[in-house]
Symmetry: C2
Subunit: 391 residues, 2 copies
């Protein structure tokens, strides 16, 4: 059964309308593909900002999806459960369709738009079409903050995505042999995930054998796996739109002292992050700081140059932020404070890492659901000692 | 050998600088991931507009890549052939790094930015950082029009991408059996392309057995292939960044009269498009019109609701446009005229289709290189009669 059958669209819409009203807006134009799907159920994806499958419109009186028959033809049923009304652009521009919907409704003076998800060109086109009557107002994170707290149906879907990734990785461990290339290992893992029921990888799988792992976003190459190197695999899959995101670091043969030590530091940092959540941390920075302290104290602070984690859901990276304050200004402080709330219902990653140029990287990433009674790790945990495979 | 070893970065930069000067600008800030790669060689990809790996900056005195060590670490060699200078954002915001680079250079008063590829949020942040001294000016298609004409190294890479797709499809035809699902067929084809040397599919493979084909952007489902239905496959792969994009429609068993007739109309429309190119068409709309006329005359005009084609290169969809003028206003006329130039060096798709709700679709898509001496079809051509497979 699809996630969409259970989705509580009415609650999502009501929460969105409440937040719109709280901000003194009369409506919101939704450009993010994730927010569009969250509210309307439309599963179409946008691969580039220049190729959007449509925008959603939420005002007091309207809940619409501005799109074309080209997009909706054959998938009309996707948006039925949400009640989104198609506002079709078949015979007019999206800008004119929007302007007409607002003028038909009347009373929409301040219309928000998602400033991070709308191109300047689209902004300018819509602003001109709306004219003086509408104050077209940049907003951020209105729906992202609703999405941060997962409902039971969403959590169930995320569990499936995590479970498939777990099982696919267990299969991969049986397959890996010395001499297989990073690309081959990545392709194999992606195939396992799809065979186990995933729709697709949730992002391009990262496999780094040795030195490549020093680059956190390494793209798999034709380098072959060798004995004794850190073998880092960052992967996940999408199930009914929802993502998993995991990282494991293993070794073929026996780890040397350095690898053993670095793995241990990262694993203890992960414990510290989890412990901070169990102790009731309410801000992402507290969780980040707890893990970072372990790495700092081990002398690898500079080699852990990214955030500890992030929310996961319809997007691989979403709210809440689990990161440090990089630049300490009142503005950046306020910005982080707005998006780092750890509340019951959030799903976050816990992914400390240590990266050493010329040697490679160790990153360990699990997914954690923060429930009313504390954190629950949704993935198999990375074990306390590095997994050694025969190869 | 990688494409990047042959790329004529100096010519790309010189052409870009010429176009910047022609527009009365002192420089251009490049947000598109495709333009960024084209100029600098950086292969990093941006999956969402909110997660950019960096921007390129071109002025009279500067050719820079504004990015972080997080992105560049380990892949510094990618940008060496282009000569792009890293402008690192490790200890400051991208906006401040940009402002400092401009102020160090001096004399940059009008700085263009790519309005279709920059979010409103980024625009506003940069505009504020640049202040009064710089007129931050929206532009479009400056580099896209340079990219439209492929150089020999690019053409060679596109040939490889087309060739791999051709061979993968030939393998797929041996594999397809009645009862295989759309998803299984898509996964198989993608695996063949990767096994033959592709980096990845260039977009999510479309496989539609029967009714789904009525939706041009159908997402493969668990529907099983049945005898006698149109089986539409739209696919391609990426090799060293460059894309192929093909569509084939085949049938398991014998086609009935309707399928035979519709296939014939679409195939003749494709011939007409190709003939228009051979006759020296200089505007995309002429090519579109030639193919569309065949479909109109057969009575299926309303069932061909998309453009005939598009350029292909680093992006699956790029310039030139091969489409009709949808709304006839002086503005839209001027807009189309700017981007539809058919010049020697362009690579375009030729992809007429007929889509019938409840029945399915027939689309035939080949890739065509327009050389000095006329068009050359880069893909295997879709045959004159529909391919019937045993299944």
């Amino acid at each position: 059964m699809d996630h969409e059958d259970h989705a509580d669209y009415a609650s999502r819409l009501a929460q969105t309308r409440q937040r719109i009203a709280d901000l003194g807006l009369d409506g919101l134009l939704i450009a993010s593909q994730y927010n569009r799907r969250y509210l309307t159920g439309l599963t179409a994806t946008d691969h580039d900002i220049t190729e959007s499958a449509g925008m959603a419109l939420v005002t007091r009186g309207t809940f619409g999806l501005i799109t074309s028959s080209f997009t909706l033809n054959g998938v009309e049923d996707e948006i039925k459960p949400s009640g989104a009304q198609p506002l079709l652009t078949d015979t007019d521009t999206g800008a004119n369709v929007l302007a007409r919907a607002l003028s038909d409704e009347g009373g929409v003076r301040r219309l928000g738009f998602e400033k991070d998800w709308m191109s300047y060109a689209t902004y300018a086109r819509l602003r001109d079409a709306l004219g003086e009557a509408v104050e077209f107002t940049p907003t951020d994170d209105i729906i992202e903050l609703v999405r941060a707290r997962k409902d039971p149906a969403e959590l169930a879907t995320i569990r499936r995505a995590a479970d498939i990734a777990n099982r696919a990785f267990a299969q991969l461990l049986q397959d890996i042999r010395i001499g297989m290339t990073e690309r081959e290992i990545a392709a194999l893992l992606e195939r396992h995930m799809v065979a186990l029921g995933a729709d697709e990888p949730s992002f391009d799988t990262i496999v780094a054998c040795g030195p490549g792992g020093a680059q956190p976003h390494w793209v798999p190459s034709d380098r072959a796996a060798q004995r004794g190197e850190p073998l880092l695999v960052d992967f996940g899959c999408r199930v009914d739109g929802y993502c998993s995101d995991l990282t494991r670091t293993v070794v073929i043969g026996e780890p040397d002292e350095k690898l053993r030590e670095i793995y241990d530091v990262v694993r203890r940092a992960q414990d510290a992050g989890l412990a901070a959540l169990a102790a009731g941390a309410t801000r992402g920075r507290e969780v980040d700081a707890a893990a970072r302290q372990v790495i700092d104290e081990a002398g690898y602070g500079k080699e852990f140059m990214h955030s500890l984690g992030h929310g996961v859901g319809l997007a691989v990276h979403e709210l809440p932020a689990v990161s440090r304050l990089r630049v300490s200004t009142p503005e950046s402080e306020a910005e982080l404070a707005k998006v780092e709330g750890i509340e019951p219902g959030v799903v976050v990653t816990n992914e400390p890492g240590i990266y050493i140029t010329g040697w490679g990287g160790v990153r360990l990433e699990d997914m954690i659901y923060v429930g009313e009674s504390g954190p629950e790790v949704l993935t198999d945990r990375n074990p306390q000692q590095i997994i050694s495979i025969a190869g």
